[in-house]
């Protein structure tokens, strides 16, 4: 009698090739969590900017520091991806673009569209 092998555990994340819809989906989650984590920081900055003329200048100065520029690039990607993927989700909810070919195409549009918007933002920062 042959001994049954244990079920293979395959959790090498780098070896898993997600389809475009899977990338759009996990990107939606990651971008949402990133924006959530940045809420306290931006609530504080928003309040600081409204507090006084001095606070306004300090908030603007913070926004122009290199770490904030890097963070803002990450958040522009997050926002773009989250917005596009969310829009795709809403359209799928009302049965628009549900067939496989169109769902894959719209997922690619979301994934690359968000990266393109982030690249555009990075370019505008360098000007």
């Amino acid at each position: 009698m042959t001994k049954q092998k244990a079920a293979p555990r395959f959790l090498n994340l780098l070896a898993i090739r997600l389809p475009p819809g899977g990338v759009a989906s996990i990107g939606h989650r990651i971008s949402g969590v990133l924006m959530f984590l940045s809420i306290p920081l931006f609530a504080w900055l928003f309040a600081l900017s409204l507090q006084s003329a001095d606070g306004f200048d300090r908030a603007a100065a913070w926004l122009h520091t290199p770490p904030f520029r890097l963070l803002s690039l990450l958040l522009v990607w997050s926002l773009s991806h989250h917005l596009l993927a969310g829009l795709r989700h809403l359209l799928l909810d009302v049965d628009i673009g549900v067939d496989k070919a169109r769902a894959r195409a719209s997922a690619r549009l979301v994934n690359f569209g968000a990266l393109a918007l982030a690249a555009l933002y990075a370019g505008s920062m360098l000007l």
Binding site: L50, F56, L79
Partner: protein, 116 residues
């Protein structure tokens, strides 16, 4: 309310808030960028105006609800240790509530200053 209805309520809430957040964000960004250079008096007058005040309070509350439903889903999917999940959910609620109150306070003060 049954568990199924609770799920439906969260599902609907996520979609309604998503639509408002998207409309607010895109229109406010458009107005902000069109106006060009901002200084403190213009910025405070804008945020202190009744229309922006009400729209921004709605945005902040909608954002809190949207984030709460989303983060809760993520925590339920990935965190299976019950006490840790509850701790993270409580922390999320606290962080969101504190941020919301801080923004509301700033908006209220700007509205008062704008009226005077």
């Amino acid at each position: 309310m049954s568990r199924a209805a609770q799920g439906l309520r969260a599902w609907l809430m996520q979609r309604f808030t998503a639509i408002y957040l998207a409309v607010y964000f895109i229109s406010v960004l458009f107005v902000y960028l069109r106006a060009g250079d901002w200084d403190y008096p213009a910025w405070r007058a804008w945020m202190g105006s009744p229309v922006m005040g009400v729209a921004t309070v709605l945005f902040s509350v909608g954002l809190l609800l949207h984030v709460w439903v989303g983060v809760r889903d993520v925590l339920i999917d990935y965190i299976h240790v019950v006490w840790l999940r509850l701790l993270l959910m409580a922390t999320t609620g606290l962080v969101l509530a504190a941020s919301l109150l801080w923004v509301l306070r700033a908006l209220g003060l700007a509205a008062l200053a704008g009226g005077g």
